[in-house]
């Protein structure tokens, strides 16, 4: 398989000192990477650099096409009059934003909404959907972009079980299609289901298969005091860890 994404010696920031340094990793087509790190550890900065929204001060990024990004549903406005289909249709904006949507664009958007399990809710206002449904609509918007690389910002955070199940199954389908998924998360245990794990704490702490990366030393270097590490048990049981999340109010 070929590398869909390769990052070498990346440093990136917001104009001053870089807030993320020394990041090097690669992901093959059809693979999944879980990006772990504390709040402020550089996950969003990495995604913004991959999207080309931040100039990187050092290093190199090689990508297959322009990636699609799925932000957390909480960032979109609930009082704005758009339907689920309208939001999915925004995925067809790139390159021809000045023209009305074509019929083929609408068909792709409708198919994407159906694919995330929301058939019949195409015309429901976005703000009237549940949190999990809104997250699925944003994934549909990314599907319409038809990108080879998808960047997903905590897609399962605060999502109801039914939506989480749909999203997880969709990730498996996308992986089977040869798409590469980078998923930022605080779920250390959930990271074991990914092909690779990238641990960030203002710089790269570790990258590799979960079985090699997720040990007590790496997790403590990644999260510091924001992590409860449960040591390895008998019978080869792996080290377990729970990230302590801080919510802004």
């Amino acid at each position: 398989m070929s590398a869909a994404l390769a990052v070498e010696g990346l440093s990136a920031g917001y104009g001053g000192d870089p807030v993320l340094t020394g990041v090097s990793f690669a992901a093959e087509a059809g693979s999944t990477v879980c990006v772990l790190g504390p709040n402020g550890g550089g996950k969003t900065t990495l995604f913004r650099a991959l999207l080309g929204q931040l100039p990187h001060t050092e290093g190199d990024i090689r990508l297959q096409g322009h990636p699609a990004h799925v932000a957390q549903a909480a960032h979109a406005r609930l009082d704005f009059p758009v339907s689920a289909l309208d939001v999915a249709l925004m995925g067809s904006l790139a390159g021809r934003w000045w023209l009305p949507a074509r019929r083929s664009d609408r068909e792709r958007a409708r198919a994407a909404v159906e694919r995330v399990g929301l058939a019949g809710l195409e015309h429901t206002p976005y703000g009237a959907l549940s949190g999990g449904q809104r997250q699925r609509v944003l994934i549909a918007r990314a599907l319409v972009q038809d990108a080879q690389v998808l960047l997903l910002d905590e897609p399962l955070a605060g999502v109801d079980p039914a939506s989480a199940e749909t999203i997880t199954a969709l990730f498996a389908d996308l992986r089977a299609e040869g798409r590469t998924l980078l998923v930022s998360s605080h779920d250390v245990e959930g990271a074991r289901a990914f092909d690779s794990v990238l641990c960030l704490n203002r710089g790269q702490v570790a990258f590799g298969p979960p079985a090699e990366v997720l040990d007590a030393r790496v997790l403590e270097a990644t999260y510091g005091h924001e992590l409860i590490v449960i040591p390895a048990g008998e019978g080869g049981r792996p080290v377990r860890a729970v990230a302590v999340q801080h919510h802004e109010h």
């Binding site: 979109a76 009059p81 758009v82 339907s83 925004m90 934003w97």
Partner: protein, 279 residues
């Protein structure tokens, strides 16, 4: 009844005034949806007040007011942009100082002993004073503004919904917002002839407030805003004609009455919070 309706149409002055408020409504009604969505009411007011020196200078020079309005908007926008660059002051404070200063300068110029007595018209507008040339210029600018809104429709929708997500789609939210501000400046230049520097804000804010959240798409919100703005403009002119009030102020009052009515209706009809939806 027939006389009531045809009375204002009998004179050329009133027919031009009607056409002027229809043009204003067709541009500013749809635009008001975006003013509300991007929370641009304060910048709109700032532009409208900051252009007063341009209006006064055009009036003193005998030039079309729309030329002075366009120049005044451009100078005010540049001055606000420069002043806002100082982060220690903050953009709101910088804007307030620049606009107050511009407004004061406009008043000083207009109140000189040798200046023609047109300050009242510049502040409160006079649709009845619109010439055929003014109307043609307003029509051309309204057409350009409407075309810009049509071209920008999808980016405006994406950015207003989720600016961060729109950036990831390849759009530049800052540039989209700047383009909207340019359309807004054009609309202010058009509308200030009829409604004046003080009342122009009514047509940029009131239609969207009258429509409220009763529509399900930006396109419908814009169409409803246009209908409200045109309707209120016509009602304002008719009431001015029959009651003998100032035309610009009557139009502004009709727009604000529509906004108040829409807001009250929204409160009456707003359903209880829906139950949580099953996934």
């Amino acid at each position: 009844m027939i006389d009531f309706l045809t009375g204002p149409l009998e004179s050329g002055i009133d027919r031009r005034a009607l056409l002027e408020v229809v043009l204003l409504g067709l541009l500013c009604g749809p635009l008001s949806f975006w003013v509300r969505s991007f929370r641009l009411a304060y910048p709109s007011e700032s532009l409208a007040h900051g252009l007063l020196p341009g209006l006064v200078l055009a009036s003193l020079a005998g030039a079309p007011l729309i030329v002075g309005a366009a120049g005044g908007v451009a100078v005010a926008a540049v001055a606000v942009a420069i002043a806002s660059r100082d982060r220690r002051i903050g953009s709101d404070t910088a804007t307030a100082v620049v606009v107050s200063g511009a407004f004061g300068l406009g008043g000083l110029l207009a109140l000189r002993p040798d200046a023609p007595a047109r300050l009242e018209e510049l502040l409160f507008g006079d649709p009845l004073g619109v010439s055929a040339a003014d109307l043609a210029a307003a029509g051309a600018l309204a057409l350009a503004g409407g075309a810009a809104l049509a071209v920008l429709h999808r980016p405006l929708t994406a950015v207003a919904f989720d600016a961060g997500g729109a950036g990831a789609l390849g759009l530049r939210p800052g540039r989209v917002r700047l383009a909207l501000l340019l359309v807004l400046a054009t609309a202010v230049a058009v509308a200030v002839q009829g409604l004046g520097s003080l009342l122009v804000l009514a047509v940029l804010v009131a239609p969207a407030m009258a429509v409220g959240d009763r529509v399900r798409s930006p396109g419908r919100a814009m169409a409803a805003g246009a209908a409200v703005a045109v309707g209120a403009g016509v009602v304002g002119l008719y009431s001015s004609f029959h009651l003998g009030g100032a035309a610009g102020a009557s139009v502004a009052l009709a727009l604000c009455a529509a906004a108040a009515g829409g807001a009250a209706l929204g409160r009456l009809r707003r359903p209880a919070a829906p139950p949580p939806r099953a996934a």
